[in-house]
């Protein structure tokens, strides 16, 4: 697995510029690309979320706003320009800052959250070679960077000088810090088996053996613990207690409006995509074709769907399915209470994860792969 950064430097070498300048140039291209990915992802995901919600709730969802004169009529893609219109509205909206708020921190907070999501994207592989920088400690880096966002949430809640925001921030901090532990422990399980923190190595291990979700009963359980925990870490229903709109108005975002609020939104959907990609890479074989795994009774000609070119397609297919499941959760489940959330984390998930860790170590010991 080589990173896109090295590739870009090579690509730009024809200009004959100094290496330093090439590096500076090469850094900016993926940065822009990541930003574009975040924006496009948020735009599409918001639209899809609203449509998914609408169809689950027996209504139509956005139907009015068109794009380039195309409205979609009464068909299911109607109102396709809605999120773009929303984005324009948010960007042109008045930015309200309460009188007694800590104005500097209130401005800083959305950007810290954004930076958290942005930095995480650097190590997120979209396909075998499509990653900005291929870290040796990739998976650990992702865990580390996704914990930056929580500081932004706390600051946003505190600086708004609003009691609802403060409650939201307190809940968010407790929730995210807690749920990082089961996430770390489940990923550690995979790391123990694969013997590497590098995401490319982990996928390669799955190519050589089998997908982690079906590797052993323990990794099977671990996938679900991971998925539920990341739903909690991204503050989605049923764990959306930091912004619980029926309790805390909008939680830590209560006082935000306009552009800053749009950044929160951008980061939320970016985080959803990140955790889904990580889940698909770590547990669901990443860019490996599912057809190669289930190659019983599949015509030979279908094997064309396997291969490095289609890696991006498979990663995104698996990740977007998980994103859809998160949306599905949101429109189906009620919300947990704070103490129930903590109970679930500390008294259910963490003991399960530790037991999992123990048993998977024994499993590996017996199958003799851990000390190859």
């Amino acid at each position: 697995m080589t990173s896109a950064l090295d590739y870009l430097i090579e690509l730009l070498a024809f200009t004959g510029l100094d290496h330093s300048i090439l590096v500076v140039l090469a850094i900016h291209i993926p940065a822009l690309a990541i930003f574009l990915v975040m924006v496009v992802n948020a735009t599409i995901a918001v639209y899809v979320e609203r449509k998914v919600a609408a169809f689950m709730q027996d209504r139509l969802g956005p139907m009015e706003v068109g794009l380039f004169g195309f409205k979609g009529g009464r068909r299911f893609w109607g109102g396709i320009g809605q999120t773009i219109a929303d984005a324009i509205k948010l960007l042109t909206k008045e930015d309200i800052v309460p009188d007694n708020a800590d104005k500097k921190l209130m401005l800083l907070a959305p950007f810290i959250i954004f930076i958290g999501a942005f930095l995480t994207f650097i190590a997120v592989p979209f396909s075998e070679n499509l990653v900005v920088s291929d870290f040796n400690v990739g998976i650990f880096y992702i865990i580390a960077m996704s914990s930056v966002g929580v500081i932004g949430i706390i600051l946003a809640g505190w600086s708004s000088n609003n009691k609802w925001s403060l409650y939201g921030a307190m809940r968010a901090a407790a929730q995210i810090v807690s749920y990082e532990i089961p996430i770390g422990l489940t990923l550690l399980l995979v790391v123990i088996v694969a013997g590497s923190l590098n995401l490319g190595d982990i996928v390669q291990w799955q190519a050589d053996n089998r997908w982690f979700i079906i590797h052993s009963p323990f990794t099977f359980v671990a996938f679900f613990i991971y998925f539920i925990s990341v739903v909690a870490e991204t503050n989605r229903t049923p764990f959306d207690i930091p912004e619980a709109e029926s309790e805390l108005v909008a939680g830590w975002m209560t006082e935000y409006s306009g552009f800053k609020w749009a950044i929160f939104f951008l980061s939320e959907y970016a985080n959803m995509l990140i955790v889904s990609i990580v889940a698909s890479v770590v547990f669901l074989g990443g860019w490996l074709s599912p057809l190669a795994i289930l190659n019983i009774g599949i015509p030979e000609s279908w094997m064309i769907l396997d291969g490095p070119i289609l890696g991006f397609f498979w990663v995104m297919l698996k990740a977007l399915f998980l994103v859809f499941v998160m949306m599905w959760f949101r429109w189906t489940f009620p919300r947990l209470r704070v103490d129930q959330l903590m109970y679930l984390c500390w008294k259910v998930f963490i003991p399960f994860c530790l037991a999992n860790l123990f048993f998977v170590s024994i499993w590996e010991l017996i199958s003799g792969t851990i000390f190859r």
Binding site: A53, M56, Q57, D58, R59, K163, Y167, T237, P238, D240, I241, A244, E245, S246, E247, L248, V249, R330, W331, T332, F333, P334, R335, L336, R337, V338, D339, Q340
Partner: protein, 379 residues
């Protein structure tokens, strides 16, 4: 009982939190002054009156006929019930004993439809309060069909002014019975859908069972009535205990909270009683719809309502509980004093008693399970 936090172990300063009047879950313009210790609520003081529209003062200056639409506006989610309750109280004041049976049948049918529609809102909003959004849109979808029926009958969708003292504004449209039966056939399986989506959801049960337990004696002492009282295991329903109108003709049960998922009288019971009551309403409707007799719905309308001097207190079972009208007549065509005992007003007063010691989220849950309507509380 399950205690969240033993305050003797960890103590901190208390903070006063002002919930409302603009807050998504206070069911209108209710303001709750909550004293919290962290997330745990130690005292709640409901502050009401933001929707006070001087109903009782207005009544002293309006004739009895003119009050009827005002009564509708008190409980805007069950306007038919308020109209019916007011009509019954004025009939009692006038001494009208017998009404044409077509009038009574239509009144009961519409009242039961109204009960279903009001309970649909109640259970949908309760789902919303605990964070489930989809059940709300589903219940509103079905309520819409009831409102369509009402629109056919009365021409209005929210505030009907259809039940008048002594009769009805006008007769039913001829297609009503068929459409109503059609709706019942559609609606009955929907209740199972709600149960699948919300009632038996594990998270929903975790959130509402054992939360805000209201024992029977506390409920009676606070004057709690309606589904909230029945949720505490007290089988008290005016339709059964003191049948007004023609409820004695129908066969139906009074569902009570049995503590299926937790303690008797918890929020889940108060919620589930409403679900069961919708089934009972369907039962009544199925009996009443095919046997509406013929007749004139306006034959008993009094020419002029001018009751003689005296006082009455009449009760009526609305979707939220026991509405009472205390009317003092001075022999004129306007009452000298009309007091409305609103059920949600009394139900709300119990809030501090049953939700202090729980968390902020639970206050919302308990409030949702009490099913208040601010229009009726503030009058």
């Amino acid at each position: 009982m399950y205690k969240i936090l033993d305050k003797s172990i960890i103590g901190a300063d208390e903070m006063v939190l002002n919930m409302g009047p603009q807050h998504p879950s206070t069911h209108g313009v209710l303001r709750l002054k909550i004293v919290t210790d962290g997330e745990v609520v130690s005292h709640i003081e409901p502050i009401i009156g933001y929707l006070h529209r001087c109903f009782e003062k207005h009544c002293e200056n309006l004739s009895y006929e003119q009050i009827a639409p005002f009564a509708d506006r008190c409980d805007y989610l069950a306007a038919m019930h308020m109209g019916h309750a007011y009509a019954i109280s004025v009939e009692k004041l006038l001494g009208i004993e017998e009404l044409p049976s077509r009038v009574e049948y239509i009144r009961v049918i519409l009242a039961e439809f109204q009960r279903i529609s009001s309970h649909l809102i109640a259970i949908g909003v309760f789902g919303l309060d605990v964070g489930a959004i989809t059940p709300f849109t589903w219940t509103l979808r079905d309520r819409e069909r009831i409102i369509d029926l009402f629109e056919q009958v009365t021409g209005a969708r929210l505030l009907y002014n259809y039940i008048w003292p002594g009769g009805l504004a006008h007769d039913l449209p001829p297609t009503f019975v068929n459409k109503a039966l059609e709706f019942l056939d559609y609606f009955e399986p929907q209740i199972e859908e709600y149960n699948n989506l919300l009632t038996t959801n594990k998270i929903f049960i975790e959130r509402s069972a054992d939360v805000g337990v209201m024992p029977k004696d506390v409920a009676i002492n606070y004057g709690v009535t309606g589904p909230s009282l029945r949720g505490s295991g007290m089988p008290f329903d005016l339709r059964k205990d003191e049948p007004y109108s023609i409820y004695s003709k129908f066969d139906f049960d009074v569902p009570i909270g049995e503590g299926l998922m937790g303690t008797v009288g918890d929020s889940w019971d108060r919620y589930y009683v409403k679900v069961l009551e919708m089934k009972e309403s369907i039962k009544i409707l199925r009996q009443a719809l095919p046997q509406i007799p013929d007749g004139d719905v306006q034959s008993a309308l009094p020419k002029k309502i001018r009751p003689k001097k005296g006082e009455i207190y009449s009760r009526y079972e609305t979707a939220r509980g026991d509405v009472g009208f205390y009317i003092r007549s001075g022999g004129k065509n306007t009452p000298t004093r009309l007091k409305m005992r609103s059920p949600a007003y009394c139900n709300l007063s119990v809030l501090n008693e049953i939700s202090a010691g729980w968390m902020i989220s639970d206050v919302i849950t308990v409030l949702g399970s009490l099913d208040i309507v601010l229009g009726e509380i503030d009058r």
